[in-house]
Amino acid sequence: MSELKQSGIDSFKHNIKSAFKSFASSFLRSGKPTSDRSRAAAVFNNFFLHVQGVKTHINTLRPAYTLGLGLISFFLLIITIISGVLLMVYYSPSIEHAYNSVKDINFVVFAGRLIRNMHKWAGEGMIIFVLLHMARVFYTSSYKNGRQFNWVIGLALLILTFGINLSGYMLPWDQLSYWALVIVANIIQSPKELTDSLGITGFFDIGGFSKELFLGGLTAGKESLTRVYLLHIMLLPIFLFIFLGVHFWRIRKDGGLTKPDVFEPKAIDAALIALPEKKGGIFPANKTYGLMELAHGKTPVVDRDVENTVLSWPNLLIAEAALFVLCLAGVIVYSFFIDAPLKELANPMIPENPAKAPWYFLGLQELLSYSAFMGGVGLPGLALLGLGLIPYLDREEQHLGIWFSNKQGKRVAIESLIASALVIIGLLAFVINFGWFRSWWPNVPQLLITLINPGNIWVGFMILWSVYVIKKTGSTRMGAIALFTMFLISYLIYTYVGTELRGPNWDFFWSRSEWPIH
């Protein structure tokens, strides 16, 4: 009996001594990643890592292929989540206190300004990097071969990124917030422009109804701020996380990122890959590729695993960690030197002149200055529809995973770039110099302007040009390249014009220094 007790106490002592070790091994079930087997286990046994494959294709690790754009977008999202939760400690979502609480965050709270800047710039950075990521995915044909729907999910993520940024800058309740809220509410109401023209607003006022739901009333006030806050911190993020989860999961199910059909490793790849000591690979040695693993010498398969893949741990994870550190450092440095704007307290009586949205919406603002409905609802909707349809209208499966597909693709992209730049600049120059229908015939019916305005003409040109390219090259992929290139260029040019060349009263000025003083 006493002997039994003795051994019970002994094993208890032993358990105490090894408590940390056994905790650690329960935590990291596969042990230290010292062998290929445990390195593989480290990835697939880990909840956070298992969305990635145990092995990664060398092509995926090449920085020049992905440019790390999707990952950067994701890391920026993580930075906005952490900084956003910190901002919620002091922010108060009511029209009486919102502005003062943001001022407190900026001027009183310890590190508040840095955190707010990081939140703002990481959020805006997401817009840039999500767009660039989309361009990378597009130009490497990565929306094909089973990935069609993931492209659509990516579009949803792009919209959510814009939506979260938009709802975010409405929260400080400064002049920008208030007038953005008013303008967005009126864009939501803008189908009225169409129903008015058709004379059916009386019994089908979809615009007015949506506006009231968004604002929680007829005018921008406290109910509106509560709703925008709810959108910004809860509704849109929930959708963002769900779509992001599906986005990542589908990449994994599609076998990782795209790669060229014919892949030849280059000598330069070796610099990217840390090769662990080979101690019993995870593939049995009686398989041919297992033998190849073991072979030494100057053959192309030396030190590489099956089908040009390497273990994700450490190769992929080190690259990811490095990129994250770079992102964080970039955001911190940028936020340290450049402050997020905060204007005067919201004043419902006087809009600023010019009342400009943040830069990423100024292209749309230019289109809005042609027609509220087309610029705010019609054309963005059409653009998203067009982008969403790309994988379904272009189903050619050649040249996957190659930037611009081939030489012809590069030429089409450059030609479309030049053609679209000329047409947009021409349209802009025309509108700026001569105005549009309303300036010539003040009594022109609004429906005519809604249907024929410079924005619509531009979109019509994009469609015609793409069809022309398809006809000329006999390839839908080339048409898609033309369309997407023109979309990017128009976003760029319109944004530039809206940001730099438009001044008070949305008049044209060559530079900010020419703005009238008043």
């Binding site: 009586m349 010019p354 200055s369 509220a372 009263n505």
Partner: protein, 158 residues
């Protein structure tokens, strides 16, 4: 032929019950969804009344223009009467500024003439004219929820 049609029209009890319960599920879900959407439309709006008093007629001497900032309204006083023109741009709701030739919107560049008629820019409609009426106590009242045709004036001595 008629026999075939007759057979097609027949539906088994199992299918009927299945379809009926599916239909019931869809209808009740839509009802719930409508209720949830209805919840977003507030029953009480904590907003200022659209109907308000602007003062006595004597407060608006002939030949003057008064801007009521808080109401987004211009009150013009001319020899043939008073009239109220909304300062809210019909494009996207910014507040227009008065100029020598009419009104100018700072947001997207809409221009209106002195009577609020669109002369340039993206505004789809002319500026609203609101009715001015006299209450029993002799004070003038405006309701910005109600528009009147352009040119409707409040005749002081009619």
């Amino acid at each position: 032929m008629s026999n075939e049609a007759h057979e097609k029209a027949e539906i088994s009890r199992r299918d009927f019950l299945g379809l009926a319960s599916l239909g019931a599920a869809v209808i009740s879900s839509l009802t719930v969804l409508t209720g949830v959407l209805r919840m977003f439309k507030p029953n009480v709006r904590y907003e200022e009344s659209t109907k308000f008093k602007i003062g006595k007629a004597e407060d608006f001497p002939e030949g003057t223009v008064k801007k009521l900032d808080e109401r987004g309204l211009f009150i013009f006083s001319k020899d043939d009467g008073l009239y109220a023109i909304s300062a809210v741009c019909t494009h996207l709701g910014c507040i227009v500024n008065q100029t020598d030739w009419g009104f100018q919107c700072p947001c997207h560049g809409s221009r209106y003439n002195e009577h609020g008629k669109v002369i340039a820019g993206p505004a789809p409609r002319n500026l609203d004219w609101h009715e001015i009426s006299k209450t029993v106590d002799g004070i003038l009242e405006v309701d910005t929820a109600k528009s009147v045709p352009a040119g409707t004036k409040f005749k002081l001595y009619a």
